[in-house]
Amino acid sequence: MTLSLKNASKTYPDGTRALLPSNIEIETGEIVSLLGPSGCGKTTLLRIIAGLETPDDGTEVWFDKDNVTQLPVEKRKVGMVFQSYALFPNMSVSTNIAYGLKMQKRPRAEIEQRVEEVLTLCRLNPLANRAITALSGGQRQRVALARAFAPRPRLLLLDEPLSALDAALRDSLRDELSDLLRRLGITAIFVTHDQNEAMAIADRVAVMSEGRIEQIGSPEDLYRNAGSPFVAAFVGNAMCLGKVVQGNTLRLTGGELSLPDDAGGRGVYVRAEDVCIAEDGPLIGKVESVTFLGTHYRVGLSGVTDSTLYSLHSGLSAPRHGDEVKLRIAPEALMLLAEDKTYL
């Protein structure tokens, strides 16, 4: 199903603008992530699509060729996985999964067959008759997904589906969820504040900030061609080196850098993995902190810019605290980004 949102916005009665007018199109079978910090409006957007939130006038929600803006949530045929999972504690695993089909008044035999099918798909067969309270966090998450998916919804919506799990479990379930969503072959939108989660699961990521969609693109696209300082900082933690008013040389406390292009008032950004410690580097910095992260070291450097600059260093040994080191940044790794958001 193709989903298109036109001019979707939400203003709360107290005047708070949770979502500024936004447009988004999602193709059939696509998995899209809404990524952003808390309070950026991503959950509001998801809830407007679900029909759980009444949007401002002028908003249009289209499911294929149906305008569903005025349709109540129970008639929209969307499947939703809630942050808290919202599994019905008064029902078993299989009754939870069967509930949506029961609401569609399907014949009992068909319901049983479909529940069986979904249980198998989500590897839940041994748990079919368990009480919800007897499940672990990861199992609950799978039941929530199975319940949302069982009635063959037109669209699957997931609100922070992994945030209720502890860190270790989250990583393994992230890949499982990605795999499962693809096997289900359904259009899915999921909300997250974790860039790794968004990158790992989604075909396309919409980065949101302060009630607006900053940029939509594939994970690679967002990472390599961030359109704004916010996106660069949020996706891949880019650091600001400074701002050049004119020309293609950036003057820093710790040296000079030549830029690939005329900066023309734009800010210069770089990611930690592109900051290399090298004997012949043009920049000089002082090691403030060294954190060993297994595959690499994260080295904090002062004296290069006004704030701490980080470098991911993958050598077998790292410089020591207090050392003076030389740094090199490849010109193509520098991102020139304008502060204003006029590109929208």
Binding site: A50, L52, P72, V73, E74, K75, R76, K77, V78, G79, M80, F82, Q83, S84, A86, L87, F88, P89, N90, M91, Y99, G100, M103, Q104, R147, A148, P151, L157
Partner: protein, 263 residues
């Protein structure tokens, strides 16, 4: 084990309080079972007073049970949906409404009864039927049902559960039946037991509202205290204890269970 003096004092007060509450109750039980209370236990034990009470007051016992059940049905029908509506709209209007229906808890039953009598006392058909007493009982017990259900609804994540059901295609009525009521069950159960227990023991309102032909158990008790011999009054009290003690125990068990959910 040696107890410090503070603890010994506390224990003494606790035991004295227990004795104060228990001794007259035991006296009453014994009086209801002895042949002649004035001659004491030596006159022998008997069940004849219980039988006598049954002959005299069986009607009032049945009326009380019937009233309690009717009261339970009314409070459930009125109270459970109302608690749900109040839980969904927790604004100041809801708080005022909750406070208002709780008036019969705070205002003495006598005042409520006087109010009812003055407005509806002249409606003969209503005044003389059991439903007049029922109204009083529902007024008095309804706040317990509403609050008990409200406490459980406030504790569970009602919003998410309902939204979950709504995304699966359930309309408001289905959500109420499939999600709200089953999950509020511990509160409904605790409320129901409270309603039945209080209705069976209610005297203040009932005394004012009853007619000579409609005596509930506690009204019968007052009647027996005033006009029957001590043994019969005691035997009747014993019957009341036998009915109310298990109910009260069940009520406390259910309330604790509902509170554990709310916590």
């Amino acid at each position: 084990m040696r107890l410090p003096i503070t603890k010994l004092l506390q224990l003494a007060v606790t035991l004295l309080a227990c004795a104060f509450l228990l001794v007259p109750a035991i006296q009453s039980v014994l009086a209801g079972l002895t042949v002649n209370y004035f001659r004491g236990m030596s006159s022998g034990l008997t069940l004849k007073w219980l039988w006598k009470v049954w002959e005299l007051y069986a009607d009032s016992i049945f009326l009380s049970i019937w009233l309690a059940l009717a009261c339970l049905i009314c409070t459930a029908i009125i109270g459970v949906p109302a608690a749900y509506a109040l839980a969904k709209n927790p604004g100041w209007i809801s708080r005022i409404l909750e406070e208002f229906i709780s008036l019969p808890l705070a205002v003495p039953g006598l005042a409520i009864a006087l109010a009812l009598l003055q407005l509806y006392g002249t409606l003969q058909g209503f005044r003389t039927s059991w439903s007049f007493i029922l109204v009083g009982h529902v007024l008095y017990t309804l706040p317990f049902m509403v609050r008990s259900v409200l406490a459980v609804l406030a504790a569970i994540d009602l919003k998410s559960l309902e939204e979950g059901a709504a995304t699966l295609g359930a309309g408001p009525f289905r959500r109420f039946c499939d999600i709200v009521v089953p999950n509020a069950m511990p509160g409904i159960l605790a409320g129901a037991l409270t309603v039945v227990t209080l209705s069976i023991g209610e005297f203040n309102l009932t005394w004012m509202l009853h007619t000579p032909y409609l005596k509930t158990l506690p009204v019968g008790l007052a009647d027996s205290y005033a006009s029957m011999r001590l043994e019969i009054a005691s035997a009747y009290t014993l019957i009341f204890f036998i009915m109310i003690v298990p109910l009260l125990t069940a009520m406390q068990w259910a309330s604790n269970r509902a509170q554990r959910i709310s916590a």
